[in-house]
């Protein structure tokens, strides 16, 4: 009986409707992602280049740390390992490999691991590394073999396997062709089992030459048109982090659908989510004696007979005008269905028809799926190119899954953009903007107020110019999330106090005041009369809070109530009166909303008539 829980939780999700939409992940790709950091620990890694701020090793460790912490926040089920090669000491599961030091086995990252990596940062970290591992002979082949064992020791299903090599040496075996050959073979073996090998090459005096050795080790790029390796080595930590980040996350489509242009013209596309509000994870319940998680079981049972209820023993109901309307669960689901899943082209509109306020939720991203329908990518590219050049968007009807009601999307073209380092800053594809229906747009009473004069506007312009800054979408961290995870970190690691967070959402008041100087006062003098207090509490027409607020308790007779029920006028009574009435007659109410109170009372009186 243990599993009723899972059962009903599903149903609840269903009732919520579209909530699950965002977490929906392509079935094929579910499974855990895994990532192995294979880091060069040779002496060269600890030498700071003149232009660099950090040693390559230090940079790598910072990068590993940021991946660890971001994994903890965003995908704590993913597995990560940290392995050093070119070490003096050896440490690996069977100790069969020399000069390979498995610092962290392939596992989910936790607080301890973050702390370990912290220990390897900076000058002190370098000392620790020298002491525990040391730098010795390099045998990349052995290291890769060791990593392949790490993967094969994992009993879980892995969906995506990636290995990143961090090094500043383009010729790790210094021309030893035997070791080179061995490394190539092992790399080939790894790739055969589905591991993607990336090179994160760091600066090296005289330049890093990928073609000497590494070009044969790393995986070929995703698409064969791309040049493959990013030829420029990373010099800055920021670049390295960005590069790792871009590779480290596996793209997952939430749906693979047909984009139907017309009868029999189906282009296969994948639907992706590129921005989604990250939320604090839900708490889990623990047994207080041992801090082990407890399982929550929810079940439905019959109040009268006490017997367990199966889903087929229940139906769904809503009450309107005191009449209960009952449907089967299946019917409730199926009335949401309008058409089969897919995107249906309605037509095109000039871009200016997409208004700023056409926004309901974060958009989706659409990219062709050549493997499903060949020819898709070509047609998609043609469409993308012409839509973008002609500055139009495509209007589509979007049905995500079988029983999801349709929404309309504005497909806005985005062409590929690369930065100087040939890294992609904008991916080619369409952004699907959700368009509001008539019901979603609210009519507002707009106040009629005087407008500003030119001199007032000009003064404000000066203020605006003084406080200009360059907005970057990744500049703001979510302080709520950061604080939450710092707290957890502190508790997990027994720190005295959680690490302080820098809250970028707070205005930098002092700096702003300083930049504005006298401008603020000048503007105020222009728009506000002397006796006006713009900070005063909006003392709107709300009556002064007096003792008279408290209304005398009103009792209502049963007859009166019955009359209201019969005439369907219960809503004329106030919530407190309804609540009192419920109490008076012992009517159980499930909520505090007025309608719920009314429903409960109505049911009570109808029964007792």
């Amino acid at each position: 009986m243990a599993e009723w829980n899972a059962y009903y939780q599903n149903e609840e999700e269903d009732l919520d409707g579209e909530e699950g939409e965002e977490s929906g992940v392509d079935y094929k790709t579910t499974g855990r992602d895994s990532l192995v950091f294979l880091v060069d620990a040779s002496k060269e890694m600890f030498i700071k280049e003149e232009s660099g701020e950090l040693t390559p090793f230090d940079m790598t460790m910072q990068c590993v740390r940021s991946v660890y912490t971001s994994k903890i926040i965003s995908s704590d089920k993913d597995l990560v390992a940290l392995v050093f090669y070119g070490t003096e000491q050896s440490k690996n599961p069977r100790n069969s490999f020399k000069h390979v030091y498995v610092y962290h086995d392939l596992d989910t990252p936790g607080a301890g691991r973050v702390q370990d990596v912290d220990g390897l940062r900076g000058e002190d970290g370098a000392k620790v590394a020298a002491k525990t591992m040391g730098s010795g002979k390099t045998n990349l082949g052995e290291a890769l073999w060791c990593c392949s064992n790490l993967y094969s020791d994992i009993k879980l299903r892995l969906s995506h396997k990636r290995l990143m090599i961090f090094t500043c040496r383009d010729s790790p075996h210094e021309g030893d062709s035997e070791r080179d050959r061995q490394a190539r073979t092992k790399a080939g073996d790894l790739k055969e089992t589905g591991v993607v090998i990336d090179l994160m090459h760091l600066m090296k005096p005289g330049g890093f030459d990928v073609s000497i050795f590494f070009c044969d080790v790393v995986s070929p790029p995703e698409d064969d048109a791309e040049l493959g390796l990013q030829m420029e080595p990373c010099v800055k930590l920021e670049d390295l982090k960005k590069r790792v980040r871009a590779k480290e996350m596996k793209k997952r489509s939430i749906a693979r659908l047909n984009l139907c242009l017309g009868e029999g013209m189906n282009v296969a596309v994948g639907v992706y989510i590129t921005a989604l509000q990250a939320r604090k994870p839900n708490p889990i319940k623990l047994f207080k004696d041992n801090n082990e998680p407890v399982r929550t079981k929810t079940r439905l049972y019959h109040t009268q007979t006490g017997s367990l209820l199966l889903p087929s023993d229940t139906k769904r109901a809503q009450v309107y005008a005191s009449k209960q309307i009952v449907m089967e669960k299946d019917e409730v689901d199926v009335i949401k269905k309008f058409s089969d899943p897919g995107l249906e082209l309605i037509g095109f509109k000039p871009m200016e028809r997409l208004k700023l306020h056409h926004h309901l939720r974060s958009p989706v991203f659409i990219y062709p799926e050549e493997e499903m329908v060949t020819g898709s990518a070509c047609m998609f590219t043609a469409l993308l190119k012409r839509c973008s050049e002609r500055n139009v968007f495509a209007l589509c009807k979007y049905t995500r899954i079988r029983n999801s009601p349709p929404r309309f999307l504005a497909l806005v073209p985005q062409r590929e953009e690369l930065d100087e380092g040939q890294a992609q800053i904008a991916a080619p594809g369409f952004h699907g903007i959700f368009l509001p229906y008539a019901d979603d747009i609210r009519t507002l009473d707009t106040p009629q107020l005087p407008t500003a004069s030119d001199s007032q506007v000009d003064k404000m312009k000066e203020i605006v110019q003084k406080l200009r800054f360059k907005y970057r979408c990744d500049a703001f961290e979510n302080p709520v999330l950061q604080k939450h995870f710092r707290n957890l970190e502190a508790l997990a690691l027994d720190l005295m106090a959680p690490e302080e967070i820098e809250d970028h959402t707070m205005p930098k008041i002092e700096m702003m005041d300083e930049r504005l100087g006298s401008l603020a006062q000048e503007f105020k003098d222009l728009v506000y009369p002397a006796d006006y207090n713009p900070e005063g509490k909006t003392a709107n027409k709300r009556k002064p809070a007096g003792g008279a607020e408290k209304k005398p308790k009103v009792d209502i007779s049963e007859d009166e109530l019955r009359g209201h029920v019969q005439k369907n006028t219960l809503h004329k009574l106030t919530v407190p009166i309804l609540k009192d009435a419920c109490k008076q007659f012992g009517v159980k109410v499930t909520g505090t909303k007025k309608q719920e109170l009314i429903d409960a009372l109505t049911r009570y009186f109808q029964k007792t008539v």
């Binding site: 095109f348 056409h358 499903m372 990518a377 509001p436 406080l467």
Partner: protein, 627 residues
């Protein structure tokens, strides 16, 4: 908040014998009128507002009204006094209202309705009183009291609406083809009574409202069309008063309103017992148990709260969490700085579920001027304010952009949430245009061009006016239209299956016909130039579909052994099903097979076996560990 507005309305329906007359193949006016009031009442019932409704019939065989005496006000029947409409009324309209055999004076009926409205609303507050008259005007009336009647209507603030079977500009010659609602009596044009009645109607309406009075005279068919759309009850927008701050000394009082937000139905489904239909008979029970072999239950009080920190589970009590969490001291709309619109306006970075419009308070001119200066400055500089937004004390802070928005009638700031770093996923996708394999030829591009031309939804007419053929923001959310259609149907026909989607709704969601016709030729050309071939190896998709097929995936529960047997029966080896991941992926079986095997064991069996093993398909398929 202000008390919500309510109105009182009396439907005044002609059921006289002329209403049953119609030309061959035409729907009698009585049936049309009945449809109008049914649709209207249905809408009112589901809107669940406090509007009250009365129903007065005239031309009826029976007489029942307060004014009837001495042979006056005969054949006028007050069917229902002012009340909130309910399903009872709907049923009565469907079953109890029949055409009468008399003639009724519609002016007399109007007087009865006025009397009803005035008596029943006495001492209560309504912000609108309205009478809707549905008649074919084909009965003699005594117009001698017309002035007194209109005078009284005006004094009482009662508005009037007329619904007629024919358009108002029908002349005697017979405008039988106007609007499809032909005149009664077999297309012979209006009768003398009708002509006279129409003049009277015009007179009354013009005297009530000289300018727009005639707009309130509509045909039955127009009304049916308009009433087909369920209107969501307008929510009174909630004001969010706050102050906009720039630095420490510049503040402007503002009020924010939600302007765009996904509207959800107000009611949700509750779970009821299948037999008794009682919500109270079903109880949800939550227990906690330790993850041991016996699944020992533990009381709720013996549990504490914890969070995952990667592989660690950190006990973190609610109290501690509350104390240590990020706190905000109150609502805020604080400018962090100003940025170029072009940098922020990345549409695909808009987050959150709403658009907020920010105004100055209604009665605060000075705030109005100050805000206007900001809006105009931003507009002229093509910039936005990047702000920190906090809805209320201890609400989660957001970073968002406030765009200037200048309309003919008003100015405001439009606020939308922007992403935090944690929200973004920087995916890279393989290049398309730089990939030779996918580069379209000139020919291909030009046919795409012709497709775009043929499918433009915004057209310019001769006067240079732009017309949008497909305005999404004018379409009612189909989900709710369908929901209410089904609820209504089920309410009146509890045992009948649900009806199909209404045709008008299907049409509203489709490519406009004109566009579909125009695009036919370019689409044919595209077909020729762009060969599309479905890849045959779509087996995994089938599997996926199969597992998503709600029923089987979610509810079917059976012993693993049982499944193996079933699979063997259907000629499948378990190996193929579960053996290993890769084989599993390629394993193909017909959807029927699995379903059949489920049917074989029967639902009961499935449920039993589930109880036995407590093993879940969900787990089998959803959870990787099983593999």
């Amino acid at each position: 908040m202000a008390p919500s507005a309510k109105s009182a309305l009396v439907l005044c329906v002609d059921v006289g014998f002329s209403m049953s007359n119609s030309g061959p193949g035409q729907e009698p006016p009585f049936e049309q009128a009945k449809k109008v009031i049914q649709k209207f009442v249905k809408r009112q019932v589901f809107a669940e507002n406090k509007d009250e409704l009365g129903l007065v019939l005239f031309g009826s065989d029976a007489t029942k009204n307060n004014l009837a005496k001495d042979g006056q006000y005969q054949n006028i029947y007050v069917h229902r006094n002012l009340m909130i409409p309910d399903f009872g009324l709907l049923e009565e309209i469907q079953n109890d209202i029949h055409p009468g055999g008399q003639q009724g004076d519609w002016l007399d009926a109007l007087v009865v309705c006025m009397d009803l409205l005035q008596n029943e609303t006495l001492g209560k507050k309504y912000d609108r009183l309205n009478i809707a008259v549905l008649t074919d005007l084909d009965s003699p009336v005594s117009p001698d009291q017309l002035d007194i009647i209109t005078g009284n209507l005006k004094r009482a603030g009662i508005t009037l609406q007329f619904f007629l079977p024919f358009p108002m500009d029908t002349d005697e010659a017979g405008g039988g083809d106007v609007g499809g609602s032909g005149p009664p009596h077999g297309g012979k044009g209006l009768s003398r009574e009708q002509q006279q009645g129409l003049d009277l109607v015009k007179q009354v309406m013009m005297s009530l409202d000289e300018e727009d009075g005639l707009d309130e005279v509509q045909t039955f068919s127009d009304a049916i069309e308009k009433l087909s759309v369920f209107k969501h009850v307008e929510k009174r927008p909630m004001a969010w008063p706050c102050t906009l701050t720039i630095g420490s000394c510049l503040t402007i009082k503002i009020v924010g309103y939600k302007a765009v937000c996904e509207e959800r139905p107000r009611k949700s489904w509750s779970v009821v017992d299948a037999q008794t239909h009682q919500k109270e008979d079903v109880k949800r029970d939550v227990v906690y148990c330790v993850d041991d072999d016996e699944e020992t239950e533990v009381p709720k009080d013996d549990t504490i709260q914890g969070f995952r920190y990667g592989s660690d589970i950190v006990p973190f009590s609610k109290v501690d969490q509350e104390q240590m969490k990020y706190k905000t001291d109150g609502k805020s709309f604080a400018v962090l700085g100003f940025a170029k619109q072009s940098l922020v306006i990345n549409r695909h970075h808009f987050m959150g579920n709403q658009i907020l419009k920010v105004f100055a308070p209604k009665d605060d001119e000075h705030a109005g001027v100050a805000l206007s200066a900001l809006i105009r400055a931003l507009d002229e500089l093509k910039m936005v304010a990047v702000v920190r937004y906090v809805y209320a004390r201890n609400g989660n802070p957001q970073v968002g952009a406030a765009f200037p928005c200048i309309k003919e009638k008003y100015e405001c700031l439009m606020y939308v949430q922007l992403p935090f770093m944690e929200d973004l996923r920087q995916y890279t996708f393989p290049s398309l245009e730089n990939n030779k394999k996918y580069t379209p030829s000139e020919n291909q591009l030009s046919v795409v061009d012709s497709l775009i031309d043929s499918m433009m939804l915004v057209e310019e007419n001769e006067d240079g006016e732009k017309k949008d053929l497909f305005k999404v923001n004018h379409i009612p959310n189909p989900q709710y239209q369908r929901l209410f259609q089904c609820l209504h149907h089920r309410a009146l026909n509890p045992s009948a299956p649900l009806p199909p989607v209404e045709p008008w709704l299907i049409t509203a969601l489709q490519r406009p016909q004109a566009v579909a016709a125009r695009s036919r030729a370019p689409l044919e050309n595209m077909k020729k130039l762009f060969p599309l071939k479905e890849v045959v190896k779509k087996k995994e998709l089938k599997t996926k579909q199969l597992f998503r097929k709600g029923k089987v995936y979610r509810t079917a529960v059976w012993k693993q052994g049982g499944l193996q047997n079933n699979c063997l029966e259907t000629g499948m080896s378990t190996e193929q099903l579960f053996g290993n991941r890769d084989v599993y992926r390629t394993a193909v079986w017909k959807q029927g097979c699995l379903q059949n095997s489920c049917l074989e064991t029967g639902r009961e069996g499935l449920q039993n076996s589930c109880l036995e093993t407590g093993r879940f398909t969900e787990q089998l398929f959803g959870n990787r560990e099983v593999y």
